[in-house]
Symmetry: C2
Subunit: 125 residues, 2 copies
C-alpha cells in the first residue's frame, strides 16, 4: 500500500466500527479509554477510524473471550502490529497460552461430567 493510497483511505465513524465488529459503541469508546484503540478526531471532535479497526476490535473480543484483560492486550499489541518482542513479552505470550490450554482442559473435564449426567438422565426417564 502506497502513501497516497493510505492518505486516501476512507475513514469511518464509531457506529460503523461497532456494527462491523458486532459490539456496542460504548465498548469501542472503552477500548480507546484503555489504550487499545487510537482514533483520529474530526474538527468537531468525532472519532474517525481506519477500516482495519473493525478486525482489530474483533481480535480484542477474541482475546477477551480467552480471558486476557485489556491491560494485557495493550502490553502485547506490539507483538502484532510491529512484530517486535522483548523477552518479557515472549514470556507473557507463553504464560497466556499455557493458561488458555489449562482452561481448555478444565472445560473439557467439566464437559465430560455434564455429558455423563446427560447420558444417565436420558436412559432413566
Amino acid at each position: 500500500m502506497t502513501v497516497t493510497e493510505a492518505a486516501a483511505e476512507r475513514l469511518i465513524r464509531i457506529g460503523e466500527v461497532a456494527r462491523g465488529a458486532g459490539v456496542s459503541v460504548r465498548a469501542v469508546r472503552y477500548y480507546e479509554q484503555q489504550g487499545l484503540l487510537i482514533a483520529e478526531r474530526s474538527p468537531s471532535g468525532q472519532r474517525l477510524y481506519r477500516q482495519d479497526a473493525v478486525p482489530l476490535v474483533r481480535f480484542f473480543q477474541q482475546m477477551f473471550a480467552a480471558g486476557l484483560t485489556s491491560r494485557r492486550i495493550t502490553e502485547l499489541l506490539p507483538c502484532w502490529d510491529a512484530g517486535h518482542t522483548d523477552a518479557e513479552q515472549r514470556a507473557m505470550l507463553r504464560a497466556e497460552r499455557d493458561r488458555i490450554r489449562a482452561k481448555i482442559d478444565d472445560l473439557q473435564a467439566a464437559l465430560d461430567r455434564l455429558d455423563e449426567v446427560i447420558a444417565i438422565t436420558d436412559t432413566h426417564p
Copy 2:
C-alpha cells in the same frame, strides 16, 4: 452404607472442608448462603459437614470454572444426588453443555492465534 454407619460418620468443621477442597472458609460459607451446601450446626452454632462435602465443593469449583453460576448449579443439583430430572432440567443441562463446547472452540481459536504469534516471534529474534 448402613444407617448405623451413617450415624457414626465423623463430622468435620468448616476449616477442614476448606483445606480439603482447596478453597477459602469464606467460599464455603458463601456456598451455604447460595443454597449449594447445607450444614448441620453444633450446639454452639458451628457448622458441621459430612465428609462428602469435600468432593462436593470440588465439584462446585469445577462447575464455576466452566462458567456455571451458583444459581444454575442449585437448579441442577437434583440431577446428581437424586438422579431425578424433568424436561426443564434436561434442557438446561444440554444448554450448558453446548455453551461449554462453544467456549472450548473459542478458546482453541484464540490459542491458535497465540501460537501463531509465538512461532513468528521465536523465529524473528
